[in-house]
């Protein structure tokens, strides 16, 4: 089947998609966007987290056809060419990246959390950060530096908002 959707603002049209393919497979193997990662393919790790119409979801659990006509946002679209998003900068500075396989999904989930809290004019508390990121497994860092990075990003993005 043919699939048409918008990914990171660009319209993509791909043919010969097998109906059983996931959005994750289509992004990675058919659209040349392998940033979203395939760690478990059963919604248990969050490495493939993308925005679907602005809502973070596991791309591995979205059937390709379900994305027809939708807006998809991936890690590749967080920042413009040659730029870094404040969340990306914060992950680098805080040392929140080791192997980095969980990073793309975490960045999307963090961006969502920080944006939502900023919209409410506040910074997320630690317990809230933990609950918001509980769907993103990381095997390298023990999460401490990821929390540091989220706090750092939230501080900076709150500053931007003012």
């Amino acid at each position: 089947m043919r699939l048409t959707c918008t990914v990171n603002g660009d319209r993509h049209e791909v043919d010969d998609v097998w109906e059983g393919e996931s959005l994750l497979y289509v992004l990675r193997e058919r659209m040349g966007l392998p940033g979203s990662k395939n760690a478990c393919e059963q919604g248990e790790c969050g490495s493939c987290t993308v925005y679907l119409d602005g809502v973070p979801v596991c791309a591995c659990l979205v059937a390709a056809g379900q994305a027809q006509g939708r807006e998809v946002g991936t890690v590749e679209g967080l920042a413009g060419p040659g730029e870094l998003h404040p969340v990306q900068e914060a992950f680098l500075e805080a040392g929140a990246v080791q192997c980095g396989f969980c990073t793309p999904g975490l960045l999307v989930a963090t961006d969502d959390l920080v944006r939502r809290s900023r919209a409410e004019g506040r910074r997320p508390a630690d317990a809230e950060i933990r609950e918001a990121l509980a769907g993103n497994l990381c095997r390298c860092t023990g999460y401490e530096k990821i929390l540091d990075a989220v706090r750092l990003a939230a501080d900076r993005m709150a500053g931007e908002a003012r």
Binding site: P34, Q42, V75, L78, L84, G100, P104, R139, G142, Y143
Partner: protein, 789 residues
């Protein structure tokens, strides 16, 4: 030769700046690519005309193969090749230490998940459907699933029953391999063979099978070369040991089997053994097309070795005052169907299985056995994790028996500089075991648990699942300390190779570091840059892609790469620097000894001469390749296990604070604190990251992580049922990093990665024991253990 459209990692970038030297929190050179989603992991590799390879695996843990019919698979449109062991041109078995594992099943399969056949097709789903059509006729046998039974040992019945004497290893179970079911038996004997003591504590312990659960599944892309050879881009821990085994299976010389490291999504030991390496090469050579193989999560559980499950019996004898008199231990490690690194794991468990304590009289028997369970091999902590649960539980039990504070008992018996290990080795660098513990005790404790209406469920055992508002919750605090050898031991010729080049490009001095040392996430590429910047006084350092075009670096395991490859990079930089300064000597008129490199210039401290490197080098590049070794170690005496087996030890200690819902058996780890001596923190931020990550993996084994195997079959090969800690399970940490230099090591550094993975779990167990008063002799602790259900 064609290269993949998405090229492998390598990260030839150079985050510059003077901030990236030894001792700085330098940022990763691959970090920007990783946060942008542009870092090419093995599973991201892609070529236009590539095929997808899949593996057909045995559903049975033990069976004879009567026949394999690949015809129905070949008939599926889109299939390009179906291969079996008949298609392996070279040696049909491989292995890290013993070549006993078939590349593809021969006549017998020995574990559930053993690869039987391969399919290459134009879509992964086509390949999977075709593989399902291969007809394999199995004669199913009764599997051997207990390590002690496999070795003909009696099983222990009760904790305090003395086990029957172990005599000859009788053959009660089927022999899984021609040489029997024993992979290795290590004996450590020291002091009085018949010691007696005032106080004796006996305990039996069991550790379940842990999985590395790296997030990036096994993947690689094999590309047939125009010379008839093959290029393999793969996520691995040791390119050259892979190359050796692939060459053997393909019957090809090393120059025809070229490996490049693809981006690695974590390793933790699980990538030491081959997975899809030979398979992808076989398919590529057979079809003449690039072949990608990428395991899914379920296959990953069958595609790599796990941490050895262990059953252990310890007897500790001490004086009334709390001085250890003797320890007797029997340790059984279930190696599963093939040897993998079981011999070395037995070596670690046997030699360090008593913990960082001074024990005058020692009697240890450590066995590694073949069974029909999943093969077990390397995982972070490597034989030391299992024994630490036992020896630290014993120390607590002994303290209770003596009425002593458990930390004081540990400090009283702690190793220190100059102590003799159970293997008769004198510890010849700082061993601040007691200090690590005392610093933990001095750290403030977290606030008491909240109760009543205003509890935040996220802080309670059970979390938002709303199982308690404080009812049944008891707090416990536990301590543990551990040690671990750094680098390869027992006389292994352990070395790394570094090629360093210094040149001026576009007016800027640029160093290039080329090693084959696998970057698996730990940050070795950062360390390589920091060392080159420090030694060569330049800002721009390119880390060459990791490949087999340079000599072996050894494995990214055993906490060894910063030590060994770091040492090699340092040595190669020194050689380059020597040549550059020698050249400069004539130009500046100072002896080379007075000169140094800094800021891309040759500097004399005496006269402040600053000669730009461009003036010294011109268009030349100065390049040196160095093979660097740490001090040699020795094989252990086969009868007594005595000898200088380990080049360096790493020490860490943990304090765990837990809240246990004693009625429901649910555990919330409230805080973890860790002290560790790292000799010299080359990159303090990365050091702390290793401690945090290692702590999380130890916590996971303590309370949730286990591959459940019944009758040789894995019951939970998924992230739905193999649980690793989430951010809600991992508590905040307090960390103190000590830096007591090891005079024998480059920069005085000490390997970091494994020690915190060893001491964290036993501390959690100690805390749970304190909260519940239960003996808890098995990990992971399940709610059933805490509730007697």
């Amino acid at each position: 030769m064609s290269t993949p459209t998405r090229t492998p990692a390598g990260a030839p970038s150079s985050v510059g700046g003077p901030g990236g030297r030894i001792g700085d929190d330098a940022q990763r050179p691959d970090g920007v690519l990783k946060v942008r989603g542009e870092f090419a992991y093995a599973s991201d590799l892609w070529m236009d005309d590539m095929l997808w390879g899949v593996t057909l695996r045995s559903p049975h843990p033990y069976a004879r193969i009567r026949s394999v019919d690949v015809g129905p698979a070949l008939a599926v449109p889109g299939v390009h090749a179906v291969l079996t062991s008949d298609d392996v041109p070279g040696e049909k078995v491989y292995g890290l230490e013993l070549a006993d594992q078939p590349v593809l099943a021969l006549d017998v399969v020995r574990y559930q998940g053993e690869p039987v056949a391969l399919v290459a097709a134009d879509h992964p789903d086509t390949a999977r459907r075709a593989a399902a059509r291969i007809v394999v006729d199995y004669d199913v046998w009764e599997p051997v699933t207990d390590a002690r039974a496999a070795l003909g040992h009696p099983t222990w019945n009760q904790v305090h029953d003395a086990p029957a004497a172990v005599t000859e290893l009788s053959r009660e179970s089927a022999h899984l391999h021609p040489h029997g079911n024993l992979v290795r038996h290590l004996k450590v004997r020291k002091g009085d063979p018949e010691p007696t003591a005032d106080v004796v504590v006996v305990g039996e312990y069991e550790v379940g099978m842990q999985d590395q659960a790296f997030l990036g599944p096994e993947s690689g892309l094999a590309v047939p070369g125009e010379d008839g050879g093959v290029d393999l881009y793969v996520a691995t821990q040791w390119l050259h040991v892979d190359q050796r085994q692939i060459c053997s299976a393909l019957a090809m010389p090393p120059e025809k089997v070229r490996l490049t490291l693809a981006g690695v999504g974590g390793a933790f030991g699980g990538r030491e053994d081959l997975s899809m390496h030979v398979h992808a090469c076989l398919l590529a050579l057979h079809t003449g097309k690039p072949v990608k193989m990428s395991y899914n999560r379920e296959e990953s559980f069958f595609g790599h070795v796990h941490r050895h499950p262990a059953t252990m019996r310890y007897e500790h004898g001490a004086t009334r005052d709390g001085d250890l008199v003797y320890v007797k231990a029997e340790i059984f490690l279930d190696g599963g169907a093939y040897a993998s690194s079981t011999p070395a794991v037995v070596g670690n468990a046997g030699t360090m299985g008593l913990g960082p304590y001074v024990v005058p009289n020692v009697h240890v028997d450590c066995y590694g056995a073949y069974t029909n369970n999943p093969p077990c091999g390397a995982m972070r902590g490597f034989g030391s994790v299992q024994t630490a649960f036992a020896y630290e539980a014993q120390m607590d039990a002994l303290a209770a028996e003596l009425g002593m504070d458990p930390v004081e008992l540990r400090c009283r018996n702690a190793m220190e500089l100059g102590s003799e290990t159970p293997t008769g080795q004198v510890v010849d660098s700082p061993a601040p075991v007691a200090e690590l513990l005392r610093r933990l005790v001095a750290m403030p404790l977290p606030p008491e648990p909240a109760t009543g209406d205003d509890v935040d469920l996220r802080h309670m055992p059970g979390g938002v699942s709303n199982t308690t508002h404080g009812e049944g919750v008891r707090r416990g605090v536990g301590y543990a300390v551990a040690y671990k050898n750094v680098a390869f031991s027992e006389g292994f010729d352990d070395y790394s190779t570094a090629r360093v080049r210094l040149e001026v490009v576009g007016g800027e001095a640029v160093a290039t570091v080329h090693t084959a040392a696998a970057e698996v996430g730990q940050g070795l590429v950062t360390v390589e840059q920091q060392i080159a910047r420090t030694e060569l006084g330049v800002d721009a350092v390119v880390v060459h892609p990791k490949d087999t075009a340079v000599g072996s670096a050894g494995s990214s395991s055993a906490s060894r790469q910063t030590y060994v490859t770091g040492g090699a990079v340092k040595a190669a930089c020194e050689a380059v620097r020597g040549r550059v300064l020698e050249r400069a000597r004539g130009l500046v008129g100072r002896p080379a000894g007075d000169l140094r490199l800094d800021g891309g210039k040759v500097v004399s401290d005496l006269e402040g001469v600053a000669l730009p490197l461009a003036d010294v080098l011109g268009d030349d590049a100065v390049e040196e390749t160095v093979e660097w070794r740490h001090r040699p170690t020795q094989a252990l005496d086969p009868d007594t296990g005595q000898g200088f087996a380990h080049v360096q030890y790493a020490f860490s200690a943990h304090r765990a604070v837990v809240d246990v819902d004693t009625e429901l058996g649910l555990v919330k780890v409230v805080e973890m604190a860790c002290t560790q001596d790292v000799g010299k923190a080359i990159n303090p931020q990365a050091v702390v990251g290793q401690i945090q990550g290692g702590t999380a993996q130890g916590l996971g084994l303590a309370v949730m992580e286990e591959i459940l195997v019944r009758d040789g079959r894995v019951q939970n090969p998924s992230f739905t049922d193999y649980l690793i800690p989430t951010v809600l399970d991992m508590p905040p940490m307090r960390i103190e990093v000590l830096e007591y230099a090891d005079p024998h090591a480059p920069y005085g550094l000490r390997g970091v990665g494994e020690a915190p993975n060893i001491s964290s779990g036993p501390a959690v167990l100690a805390a749970i024991r304190q909260a519940t008063g239960l003996p808890l002799r098995r990990v992971p602790v399940r709610p059933e253990h805490l509730t007697g259900t």
